[in-house]
Amino acid sequence: MQNTLDGISLHQLFTSGYRNLKKNMEAINDLNVFPVPDGDTGANMVMTFGGGLQAVSETQTHVGQYMQSLSRAVLLSARGNSGVIFSQFVHGLSRGFAEKETVTFGDLAEAFACAKEDAYHSIITPTEGTILTVIREAADFLAENAKNYDSFQTGFDALQAQMTASLKRTPELLPVLKEAGVVDSGGAGLVCFVDGICAHLHGESLEDIQEDWSAPASMCTDFGPDSRLEYGYCTEFILQLMNYKTDLAAFDLQSFTNPLEQMGDSIVAVHNDGIVKIHIHTFTPDTVLGYARGFGEFVSVKIENMSIQHSQVQTAVQKEKVKFAIIAVVAGEGIKAYFESIGANYVIDGGQTNNPPVSAFLEAFQKFDAEHIVVLPNNANIILTAEQAAQAYTECDVRVIPTKSITEGYSALSMMNPCCDTVDDLIGEMSANLDAVTTGYVTTAVRDANMDGMTVKKGDCIGLDGKHLLASEEGRVETAKALVNRIMAATPKDVIIFFYGEAVTEEEVQALSDYLQKAYPLVDVGFVSGKQAVYDFIISLE
């Protein structure tokens, strides 16, 4: 029976919680309000916490110090609204545990109070019936009862029962959940996490499901058996200098890196307390590693073929000096290329099913020597992450225009005027038309659903405006027409742009174009091959 925990046992509890979260990831993803396969809360929470766990030392005994490094690492990998809230929850726990070498269950009361505070602070307009409610009610419960439990096992059992009940009440607080017949996904994630902790306290050991999180879902590379190695390898390693190989006191970084200049370029070298970190672009990583190993042993090594890197992200090695740098989050090869062509300086790969973490934003920011960086998150679930990153970045002024969709992103980017004198003017012009944007989505229902007075079967084409199911006709073109007609009937618009997905044919585009020109002769209609997944059409109406 454990009555106090140190950093090491806390890490074990969290690891078990994380494993259970990961086990239930898909089920959490499926807790989606719409019958659309784009739920991602589970994946976001797993990646947020997983990234944190990976980065911390499992041998840190001091709880306060352990929590501090965990909290920092979790923030860096935070993605998605639930992920960001989860990271703030962890941050709160670390505040509550600061200075503590070991903790008792009673200490959880204060930690959860801090966690509740930080979680609510991260959201501008907190919504009840979400993970926030689950956190708040847990904190309230602990404030009242934590002192009554001596052991973590009995305490967590009680807490878990309370949180499960709290989760079950979320549909009563949030009507969209009730209508869709689901509980809040973020709250469910948190409960899974606590379930995992309880399992560990009961002596169960959960296995880690192995999955490669680092590789993108569809890794397309042009590098084949007959390719030429054009750009070499981006090689990074951390080297622990060893006493038996080199004189640590006399180690000189400059003399160490001099021979590296014969082996490659773009060298970045850092030396701190016997640890050397090297970044180099080289055609012969084997030579580089062989040379480096003469001084010590590797802590970690990462080697990437830059021909593949190059085709995936076109990044300038040198920092681009600009007054304003516009960074947009976009999914879909076509939309990405399009956004770059109309003025985005850099595009972060991401979207509804792939929310980029804080660290992805920080990496993007670092690419520019800009006076101001303006971020277009283009997804309601990414805004918070972007704002966290903007706050964490100190090199230059970073602003976030809270664009909730690709279509709002287009509206802002299309109005971007680099001649503006000040960043406030720039943001003013970019935001000018955001309120007028309505977004339509056409996709296929993944389950039977009955909502907004419509009944749809799994496999039907459906048209939504992000809030309501508005159309369901035979085929995507007819559904798109009906959706546009309903939106135009409610509020006439001047501009309609279709971002069409991979499956859509040229004939279908032509048919839609012909129809719209007849139906709305005064409206400016455009088509962009977005090549996006999930949605056959993302329609912007301004």
Binding site: S414, M415, P418
Partner: protein, 295 residues
């Protein structure tokens, strides 16, 4: 005191009626369609307005040439022969190199006729903005000012002629490349209208964007009314075969400012070639332009 003639060119977009009323002459430029050269007539002698802009709508590329040396020689010589001075108000030097040729011709003629006063003024604007300066020169002549004093007056007010307009399609601007703007302005944008002003160097400069036709009209109206700064005398609006759109812009401006007199005309073939059909441009006298366009 010697009388003088007021001469402008094909980019002034002045109607026959106005030219007659103010006794303004013009020297023509040329335009080339499918290898054939035509006089850029302000009275649409070779092609009608509709024919010309329909050719552009059909994808026909129109090339333009500056005023020829002989054309200037002939026009200026005629004035001198009649014992008159010349005030020539040219298209903005940022849009056409005609003014350089005019100055050369003027220098040559002055050597021959030292008593002749030939004043070539770079209007730093085009279309009815340039036309308005020619009208002002004519008015000063009627008030009894000399050619030299009139030229000085026009020089003093030319940067106070404000312009704001928009195009029917970005495509023509992209092709002709006569409007300064950043690359992002000309990306493949839908529903975005550039608001184009004439800057202190006489360059057409896309200084702002508007989303959709309605916002573009409002943008033009707000710019013109602000520039007029409370003095609502004359308003000028030219259009490239889009009278309805021009009327809407006019209404939008008059809703905000009761200009006493409104002159409208079509955009002639030279300006039209670089802005394309569907363009509407408004002008008025107002506060001095201070914007300088950069890429």
């Amino acid at each position: 005191m010697r009388d003088f003639v007021v001469i402008t060119d094909s980019t002034s977009d002045l109607s026959l009626e106005t030219r007659q009323q103010f006794n303004i002459e013009y020297v023509p430029m040329q335009y080339i369609i499918n290898g054939e050269e035509f006089k850029a007539s302000l009275d649409w002698e070779a092609h009608s307005v509709k024919e010309y802009y329909d050719l552009m709508r059909g994808g026909c590329r129109v090339y333009t040439t500056q005023v020829l040396k002989d054309t200037y020689l002939e026009a200026f010589q005629k004035a001198i022969d009649a014992g008159k001075d010349v005030v020539y108000i040219s298209c903005s030097s940022a849009l056409s190199a005609s003014i350089n040729v005019a100055c050369l011709v003027a220098m040559e003629l002055k050597e021959k006729y030292p008593e002749a006063g030939i004043f070539c003024i770079d209007s730093l604007i085009s279309s009815l903005g340039q036309g308005f300066l020619a009208m002002e020169a004519s008015r000063k002549r009627a008030e009894g000012l000399s050619a030299a004093d009139t030229a000085a007056y026009i020089e003093s007010i030319k940067l106070c002629v404000n312009q704001c307009g928009t195009v029917g399609s970005l495509e023509y601007l992209r092709r002709a490349g006569r409007v300064k703007a950043s690359k992002a302005f000309f990306g493949n944008l839908f529903g975005v209208k550039p608001l184009i002003i004439s800057d202190i160097k006489g360059q057409n400069f896309a200084y702002k964007k508007a989303k959709g036709a309605v916002n573009a009209r409002i943008g033009i109206a707000e710019h013109i009314v602000e520039a007029a700064n409370g003095v609502y005398e004359e308003l000028f609006i030219s259009h490239a075969d889009c009278e309805e759109e021009m009327e809407q812009v006019k209404a939008e401006i008059l809703k905000r400012a009761p200009f006493k007199k409104v002159y409208t005309n079509t955009i002639g073939p030279i300006v039209g070639a670089s802005v394309g059909p569907g363009t509407v441009i408004a002008f008025c006298l107002g506060t001095e332009v201070t914007i300088e366009g950069n890429e």
